[in-house]
Amino acid sequence: MSFSVSKVGDVTVVEVEGQLIVGNRQDLKQKVLDEVDKGARKIMIDFERTGYIDSSGLGVLVSLAKRIRDSGGELRLANLHDELQTLFELTKLDTLFQISKTRAHALESF
């Protein structure tokens, strides 16, 4: 599991490689909040190389969405594979997040 952060224009892109689960979710949360503290307001999390996400990982995404929104920013999710998309639909979190099929679409959506 690893997280990487890069910039595409004024969008901060966070890639999640591996699983987003109870053992590492706080790492992602801290990494994104550090970016918010540094002034990032457009944040995209790219799940292209993500395996699975558990309930605590979903919880962190909900928490981050609120924190980013409270800071006047926006969070987008991109590149969910079919099983992750199903997970978001089962939990109805697909109604809470703006989810794009590709990174390019997510970048355009800001």
């Binding site: 109870v22 053992g23 558990d54 309930s55 605590s56 594979h81 997970l87 109805k92």
Partner: protein, 142 residues
Amino acid sequence: MTDGKSLDFRIPSDVQYIEGVVGQVVERCQALAYSRRHTALNVPVALTEALSNAILRGNGDDARRAVVVRVEIDDVQLVAEVRDEGTGFDLLACTEDSTSAENLHREDGRGLFLMQKLMDRVERYTEQATGGNVVRLVLHRA
């Protein structure tokens, strides 16, 4: 059930052990041609939830307490039993509808809901011999 073998694990109550256990179970499912949805969603997520519940709630995140896992997998079904040293809980009473309007924005409370959505059967019982709390997950391959 045919050609069934069990996978047995005994881990300390530390969430860092979860991914290794889940990875071995998923690998066995893949070898038995379980579907992509089963191996990328149902099994890893439900088993991760059962393990994290056992570690964090059942055993109170106390690394001196063990979690014992037995998984029987064959070409018909997967049966996973996750045992902790806690006093147990009421599965039905503790499972909330995470999709309801009042719960949708919550950060927590999706674990039991997901287990039940992703498995064909979820049971909780107290093991007579040890007094341990067991969560049993069943998933049919077909």
